[in-house]
């Protein structure tokens, strides 16, 4: 499989601040790859280094096998869709999109054809003559994408391009972006702090925290098998229980948590190591649903919150730790604060995290 972008031990320091800390990544051709993390985690800096808008303090960046570490943006086969779009207000839609083509001195007929084509692609046919300020937010978005795509970049970089849109439009654009990526087949590197967005669109996700990459994996794997407590907490929600590996064998793992013994299928650490056990709220069953679960205890309901399609309940286990469970609306009938209840989940849903 071809690698389009490769980062080797890339670091970026701003004075004393380490924005990106020894990041290594390999992004495959045609992949929809997301850099996900909270603000300040270094994801945007990483993207800008790939695009040539920032330069690493250390490490190397390769684009299709060639070292581009110090190459400025205008010499790289990447194009970016900026967070605030950065459309040229003094140029029309057509001129905005044609900007890169004109710099490459493409003949006017080719420019016209390509611009028309890309406008079709982003579903804005006939908008070439518009002024930027005449467009709606979503339309500007498409123009920004069109402006980048028309250059047929090796890699398209997207820096939270949907951040400024309202929720509904954002959801629609997510689907559209993903479809677009399928159509053009270009490698997309997408920066976002929105885990839902990342999960929806990405083939693979790199979760970043404090300048470092915590985990790189597919959406499903990141969700089901987070490798660190940060990843588990950042992607979706999770209950965390600190404990120690009591037994680890081919038949499974036992983790001791405050006297409870939690079953899991695998652990990253040998017996005796301190670990954290994580379980997603939607996997925590209450009442009869907990019957037959590998992990099963009793507890007392402390609080119930109605949330529309789901209901959340906070339960204090008899052994001490508290858990949050998320139940479907109809499974929650009869739950009331103070009531004693059975709590349980399958061993396969227990994720054991090192440290």
């Amino acid at each position: 499989m071809d690698v389009d972008v490769e980062l080797r031990e890339v670091s970026k320091h701003f004075g004393a601040i380490v924005a990106v800390d020894r990041v290594s990544l390999a992004i495959r051709r045609g992949e929809f790859f997301s850099l996900l993390g909270p603000s300040g985690c270094g994801k945007t800096t990483t993207l800008r280094m790939i695009g040539g808008l920032e330069f690493p303090t250390a490490g190397e960046i390769l684009l299709r096998g060639a070292v581009v570490t110090d190459l400025p943006a205008y010499r790289r086969a990447t194009n970016m869709v900026f967070q605030h779009l950065a459309l040229f207000p003094h140029l029309t839609v057509f001129e905005n999109i044609a900007f890169g083509l004109r710099l490459r001195r493409e003949p006017p007929s080719v420019i016209a054809r390509k611009v028309d084509g890309v406008l079709q692609l982003v579903d804005l046919p006939g908008y070439g003559g518009r002024e930027i300020h005449q467009l709606s937010g979503g339309q500007k978005q498409r123009v920004a994408i069109a402006r980048a795509l028309v250059n047929e970049p090796a890699v398209l970089l997207l820096d939270e391009p949907l951040g400024s849109l309202d929720l509904k439009l954002r959801l629609a654009m997510q689907t559209e972006l993903k479809a677009l990526q399928h159509r053009v087949g270009t490698t997309f590197i997408y920066v976002t702090h929105d885990q839902g967005e990342a999960l929806t669109m990405s083939d693979r996700i790199a979760v970043m925290n404090l300048g470092r990459v915590e985990q790189v994996a597919t959406s499903q794997e990141i969700y089901a098998r987070p490798r660190t407590r940060f990843v588990a907490g950042f992607i979706g929600e999770a209950n965390f229980l600190d404990g120690r590996v009591a037994h680890a064998g081919p038949d499974g793992v036992l983790v001791a948590v405050n006297g409870l013994r939690v079953r899991a299928e695998a652990a990253p650490a040998p017996a005796g190591a301190a670990v954290t056990v994580s379980v997603r709220p939607e996997h925590v069953k209450l009442g009869v649903a907990a019957d037959g679960a590998a992990n099963r205890w009793t507890g007392r309901i402390e609080e119930v919150t109605f949330m529309g399609a789901v209901v959340r309940a906070r339960v204090a286990l008899d052994g001490g730790p508290r858990l949050v469970a998320e139940l479907h609306n109809d499974a929650a009938a009869g739950l009331a604060p103070g009531a004693a209840v059975a709590v349980g989940w399958a061993a396969g849903h227990t994720v054991v995290l090192a440290g």
Binding site: E9, R22, F55, A58, G59, E60, D70
Partner: protein, 303 residues
């Protein structure tokens, strides 16, 4: 791993592209730095040198503080400094008294056409030479000029009242010439004081005066201060207007410079120039302290 990264940093720092990027500001700034240093700062150095080593004066050139002693040791010259400062303060105060309400009024004009007209009328005079405007005031204020004619025609005075060849004439003309420099900065902040802020204040029960004093005034203080600074600096160094309007009677520092240049007494002229410079620096520094306080207060109010 960290150890492995360090040699890479060193290696990368040697790259010519990186070096180019690191020093990209140098070619941009070099012309301005070169010009300013080679002309302006050298000139300032020349002034200092001339003030203690007046090699253009008659007699043997030698290092001497005589010119400094002559100026600083003589109460008469302190009087001239006093007149210079007094004129500058009066002109600044009057310009503020005229400029602030004018700027405020412009911001209140609702029809854009009229606002534009007011803008143009207030600012167009800076397109007309200082010499021409001073001449215009000579026409208006001299004994046989327009104002005295009207006063006499109206029977208000029998003898023309002396409006030129004294400080009155200088002040009137200077206020006229410098008013745009006061209105500019005030107008730019008055425009920013949003109506909603004032409405909020009114909503909270403040009457109009209190609103003005507690909201508008502090918020426009930065504009007022920068306007006053500009007008003050321009007044203390003004020469043409005081020279033509003063009839050789009003003694200020710039006039001394001119006198000593005529008498080829460059050493003393340099001393006076440096004193003028020192006055400007001191007054501006003091007002900057005020400005910083005003900014801080404005920030607090805005927050």
């Amino acid at each position: 791993m960290a150890q492995a990264a360090i040699p890479q940093i060193v290696a990368r720092r040697g790259g010519w592209r990186a070096a180019l990027r690191r020093y990209a500001h140098v070619p941009l700034l070099t012309p301005a730095v070169g010009l300013t240093v080679a002309v302006f700062w050298v000139c300032m150095a020349v002034l200092v040198v001339m003030s203690v080593y007046p090699f253009l004066a008659a007699g043997t050139p030698r290092l001497t503080l005589a010119a400094w002693q002559r100026l600083l040791g003589d109460p008469y010259y302190w009087g001239v400094v006093g007149t210079t400062l007094r004129l500058a303060f009066v002109v600044t105060a009057l310009a503020l008294a005229l400029g602030y309400p004018a700027a405020y009024a412009i911001s209140k004009i609702q029809r854009p056409g009229w606002a534009l007209a007011a803008y143009v009328v207030l600012f167009a005079p800076i397109l007309v030479s200082v010499v021409v405007r001073t001449y215009g005031w000579l026409l208006l204020l001299s004994n046989t000029g327009v104002v005295n004619y009207l006063l006499r025609a109206a029977g208000l005075v029998r003898e023309p009242i002396p409006l030129i060849f004294n400080e009155t004439g200088i002040i009137i003309a200077m206020v006229h010439i410098l008013l745009p420099f006061m209105v500019f900065p005030i107008l730019s902040v008055v425009g920013q004081v949003g109506g909603d802020l004032k409405e909020a204040a009114m909503d909270l029960g403040a009457n109009r005066w209190v609103t003005f004093r507690r909201v508008t005034l502090p918020l426009t203080a930065p504009g007022v201060i920068s306007g006053c600074q500009i007008v003050f600096t321009l007044t203390i160094s003004a020469f043409v207007t005081p020279f033509l309007m003063g009839g050789g009677r009003v003694q200020i520092l710039s006039g001394l410079i001119y006198r000593d240049m005529e008498a080829v007494n460059l050493g003393f002229a340099s001393v006076v120039a440096l004193v003028l410079l020192a006055l400007a620096v001191v007054i501006l520094a003091a007002s900057n302290v005020l400005a910083r306080r005003a900014y801080r207060r404005a920030e607090v109010e805005r927050a």
